[in-house]
Amino acid sequence: MSELAQNLLFGFGVAVTPQNLLFCLIGALLGTLVGVLPGLGPVATIAMLLPVTFSLPPVAALIMLAGLYYGAQYGGSTTAILVNIPGESSSVVTCIDGHMMARNGRAGSALAIAALGSFFAGCVSTAVVALFSQPLVRIAGSFQSPDYFGLLVFGMIAAVVLAQGSIVRSVAMVVLGLFLGLIGTDMASGQVRFTFGIAALADGVGFVPVAMGLFGIAEIIASLERGGARPRVAEKISRLWPTREEARQAWPAVVRGTGIGSLLGILPGGGALISAFAAYALEKKVAREPARFGKGAVEGVAAPESANNAGAQTSFIPLLAMGIPPNPVMALMLGAMTIHGIVPGPKVMTDRPDLFWGMIASMWLGNLMLLVINLPLIGIWVRILQIPYRWLYSVILIFCCIGVYTVNNTTADVLIMGVFGLFGYLLIKIRCEPAPLILGFILGPMLEENFRRSLIVSRGSWSIFLERPICAAFLALSVLFLLVVLLPGIRRGRDQAFQEG
């Protein structure tokens, strides 16, 4: 325990330098901004900011990018409550009761409850990250290639099962992503493969252009199609403090939401989105009068908002401890670490303790900043929300182009982004989720490498994947997950949970 306290103290020492505090604040503020703005998410923004982080020391860069992710969870609720549009996909369920509260003249308390709940969740999940990373690092240290292979497979299956949309199509998207990740030079043989004669692909398809195309460009086209009417913020925010009655109702929901979020964040495939949905569903289950939900129930704001923040933060655990990104945002964080020459995985904690503990400490500080600055700044966010989308999309578009170009200083990446923008838009049209693809894309090379090494060890026999108990357990869990979710009853429940929570 004292070791943990010592480590945390060391982390605060790193995070409290003026430079790191500044970048934590910038990250948190930018995160809130993209959270507030519908049609611009953390994935596209982190991708856009990657070039900006080149000139920073790695610790400052990662602190800023982390702040962006949890900042977005704070910002998303503001838009959801005030204009009934999810500023962030993880705030979809907050719209339901949050906006009803606003229409009943309780916008202020809804915002305050969302912020306070998020802050509580942020504190708890920071502690969870600090507590759980260390033992996980120890476990991961004993993993061998087949075990990593099993874990990767399980992670992808869990991601598909816990996400929205058709499972078969999502599995196909993961596999397609795995393949796209293998394009370029094969690490083992040095042979260039599947480039279709395009020289720019010899080093592989870049992660940033793919992510920005699928999440940035495709989303711009889809948003323009929906028509960007200026969101109306009709309600005046009167009082910003919840009543005693509201606080009494919200408190247990915050605790439950935090618990669910912390748990689902750690799972491979978890993160903010699924946490919010699950927390809302649970509140409806345990409520004495479920009929209040949808009519402005305080718990319907408190639980999902706490959960998405907790889930956002604990999803750093698999990345920091094992080097495995559980969701697209963490995949980008992995990309950012690689750019700065850090190999994510169990070694980060021992080799770069400043980075590891500094980032954890910065999460708590960032949450505190968000709580303090956000409520007074709501007026500004509302003003920004009034910027018409027909101006905004050009700005996003240009920043995507410049951002993609600066990663490798090549216009070929800009064109690749365009191609994946088109592909992403078509995928939205045929109802395929792009998130599993990007996850597979990141994990593809890792999966192949561990598969290859396992087969070297076993002299070509596939049975090694069943003989190693850890790997066999992961594979069995994967099969179980798929079977369970394909059972009609549970499947209906899953669809319902995603429809409106």
């Binding site: 000139s55 199509r169 393949f179 493969r193 086209i221 578009l397 240009i398 216009t411 838009y425 049209k429």
Partner: protein, 152 residues
């Protein structure tokens, strides 16, 4: 297409199935160029072939499922934003390749502006000027990235 005569044409599984089946075929076809290796030392074509079978197989399964799964897609494309957004990316890449950041931004905003029908040409001029200035101030002056501003 007539929904009554072709009730299955709009099914989501039909389109995704066709896509994945085709992609699987492409992967397997191109994959024949690469060595499989032996199981204890797999070659560069080994894992891609496994993935190709999986993609194609899932595609075929989806095609089959399209017979009874009724989920539908909205069979329309938003051509205007699609063309102008992609066109603006193309414009950025080409102009930037030939000149520098500022002309690329001007060209790209000029094309992107038409993606939203209610935008006027005055919007484009205003946005392009502001964006060109900000991009220059942030990326070139502020962050010191080595980007050509006017000409390379």
């Amino acid at each position: 297409m007539e929904p009554r005569r072709w009730p299955r044409v709009r099914r989501a599984d039909l389109w995704s199935g066709a896509l994945f089946a085709a992609l699987g075929a492409v992967v397997l076809w191109t994959g024949t160029n690469y060595s499989q290796g032996v199981p204890s030392r797999i070659g560069p074509g080994y894992v891609p072939r496994l993935l190709g079978f999986l993609i194609g197989g899932l595609g075929l399964f989806l095609l089959a499922r399209a017979w009874w799964a009724t989920e539908e897609i909205d069979a329309s494309l938003a051509w205007r934003p699609l063309i102008f957004v992609l066109g603006s990316i193309l414009a950025f890449a080409l102009v930037f390749q030939a000149t520098g950041l500022v002309p690329a931004i001007l060209a790209s905003v000029a094309v992107a502006n038409s993606a939203a029908p209610e935008n006027r040409w005055t919007t484009a001029i205003g946005l392009a000027a502001i964006l060109a200035f900000f991009a220059w101030a942030l990326f070139v002056k502020g962050l010191g990235l080595p980007l050509p501003v006017w000409l390379r």
